[in-house]
Homo-oligomer: 339 residues x 2
Amino acid sequence: MKKELKIGIVGATGAVGQELLRLLLRREFPFSELRLLASARSAGKEVTEGGRTWTIREAAPEAFAGLDVAIFSAGASVSRELAPAVVERGCVVIDNSSAFRMDAGVPLVIPEINGKEAFNHKGIIANPNCSTAIALMGLFPLHRQFGLKRVIASTYQAVSGSGAEAIAELDAQVRAYVEGKESKPEVYPYPIAFNLLPHVDAFTDSGYTKEELKLLYESRKIMNLPTLKASATCVRVPVFRAHSIAITAQFEHVVDLDQAKKAIRLFPGCDLMDDPEKLSYPMPLDFAGKINCGVGRMRVDFALDNALSFWVVGDQLWKGAALNALQIAELLAERDAEN
Amino acid sequence: MKKELKIGIVGATGAVGQELLRLLLRREFPFSELRLLASARSAGKEVTEGGRTWTIREAAPEAFAGLDVAIFSAGASVSRELAPAVVERGCVVIDNSSAFRMDAGVPLVIPEINGKEAFNHKGIIANPNCSTAIALMGLFPLHRQFGLKRVIASTYQAVSGSGAEAIAELDAQVRAYVEGKESKPEVYPYPIAFNLLPHVDAFTDSGYTKEELKLLYESRKIMNLPTLKASATCVRVPVFRAHSIAITAQFEHVVDLDQAKKAIRLFPGCDLMDDPEKLSYPMPLDFAGKINCGVGRMRVDFALDNALSFWVVGDQLWKGAALNALQIAELLAERDAEN
C-alpha cells in the first residue's frame, strides 16, 4: 500500500501541468490533497478533470505549506526562484525544468534507469529534458547489454515541447493554409506548418544548441557514463505531441541484433515495434497518449563498428515530461509507505 | 554558343516532369524541338507552360525518332523497358530513376561534382537519388577539403519525393483535419499529416531501406570513394517539397570550421546560411523553388574525431531531380556546341 501524499502541481494551466493532472487521476496516484498552482494571472481560475474541480492558487511560497511533494512545470526561472523556499518548507520538489538538472546535489532521474537516485535528494529531484528521456529509453537497455560509448542522434521534435501556445500556433497555421490566409509565427521565429526548424532552445558558442548539449550532459549523468560521447541535431517538426529520434549508437562490445531487440522488448516502458515486412515501426501519431516509448528500425549500423541504428518515439508531454515526473513522485510515495 | 538540341521529357505529366518543363524554359535551354511524352493514358492531353502549348505523345520507342536527348522521370520500370530502345535510336537518355544508377557502364552524375563523367556514357546517364544529390552538395566540398571517411545521415524528406499524388495526399489530410474529418492514406501506408514515417522505399534484409542504401552506394560512385562508410535513416515528414538532411561526417584530416564554411560558400550550387545569432539556417519552406542547396548549423562534432555536423536543405523536385537532370543535359548541349 502506498502512503497518501499531499501533492502540488506548479504550472497547472500549462500543457505539461494539464497532462500531470490527467495522469495523476488516471494512474490513481495516492494523494490525500492535490493543490493546483500557477502564476498570479491564473489564480482563481477553475480547472475540472475527472468530474472534480480545483481552484488555481498562486504559486507563492506560503501556498506550499503542508505539502509533501510539488511537481514544477513552469519553466526554469520560476523553478530557480521558487524551489528553494518550497524545499525550506519541507516539501520535495520534482522539477521539470532545466534549472537544477546538472547541479551536483540534485539527482536527475528516469525511474526505469536510475530510480534509486531519487532517494539521494536534498529536496530537489530533477526531471530530464524530453528528448533525452525518450532517447535514453531506447539507449539504456542497449547500454546494459553492450556498453555504450558514443551516440549520434537527430531529433524530430513535436511542437508540444514548446507548450500550449505552440500547439495552437501549428493548428492556426494549418487552418490559415487551408483558408488561403497567412498566420504569422509568434512562438517560433519562422512558420512551423509544412516546415522544419533546425533550432530548439538557444544557440551556444560551440554551434550546438542548449537542447543538443542536454542530450550529451544529461545522458552522462543519468546513465553514470562521464566519458560518453554524444552529438545531437535537434529539429522542430510539424507534429503535435510525440518526439521521434534517429539514433546511431556505438558500443564497447560486439553487438548482436537479436540480443538488442530482446533487451528492448524486456525493458519496462519500451515497446519493440520492429517488423519491416508488416510495416511495423513506431510513429508519433501512434505514440501520442502512450505510456511506453516505441523502438523500431533496429539494424546493425553500416558506418561505425559495434554499432546499432534505431528509431525511438515517445510522448513528449508524458514520458518526456509529466509521466516521468509523476513516476518519480510514485517512487517517493512507495518508499514513504514502506517506512 | 550552345547547340540547339532536340529534347524529350518522359513522364511529362508527373511532378518532376512538370518542373523539368518549367526549368527548361526558365533556364533557356537551347532546344530546337521539345517533345513531351507520357503513358498512353496521358497521350493527347495538352500541357501549357510559358504561354506555349504541347500535346503529350505516348512514350513508345518510335516517338523518340530524331531526338538528341530524352530525360526520363517515369519510374524505374518504364526506364528499364524503354531506355534501351531509345538509345538504339541514337537518343541519349538522362534517367531520373534508380534503374541504371549502379550499372558499371552508366555514369551517375552531379554536374558540380563529377560533371566530366557525363561524357563517358554509352547512351544512358543516370541522375542520382534525391536525398543523395542534396546530401552530396554539402558533403563533397568538405570531402575535397578534408578527405571524407564516414557519413551518418538522418533525412527529413518532403512528400514531393513520392510524386504529385503524395503532395495531394498531404494537402487532403490537412484539409480533413481542419474540417474534423478523416482522410484515408493511399500513397503512404499511414497518415503523413502531423506524422513521421521512418520508411522511404522498400525494406531490405539488412534492416536498411533501399533509400538508405542509395546514400551509401550512390555516394561512393559519384565521389569515387569505393571504401566510404555511410549509414542513413530516411524519414518522410509533412513538408511539401524540399528535403532536409542532418549529417555527421568524419574526415581523414583535422577539420577547421572556418575552412569548412569557406569550402561551402565557394562551392557552386551551395548557399552557406549559418549565422545562429541572426537565426539564419536553411529551412525547407525557404528552399522550395531555389536552384541552390542551403547548408547551415555547421559545427565541429562532439561524438567523432575529425568530424563536422551540419544541416543541408534542397528542393527535392529541383536539385533532387529535375534541375540536376537538366544540368546534365546542359553539359551535353555545351559539349556539342564546342565540337
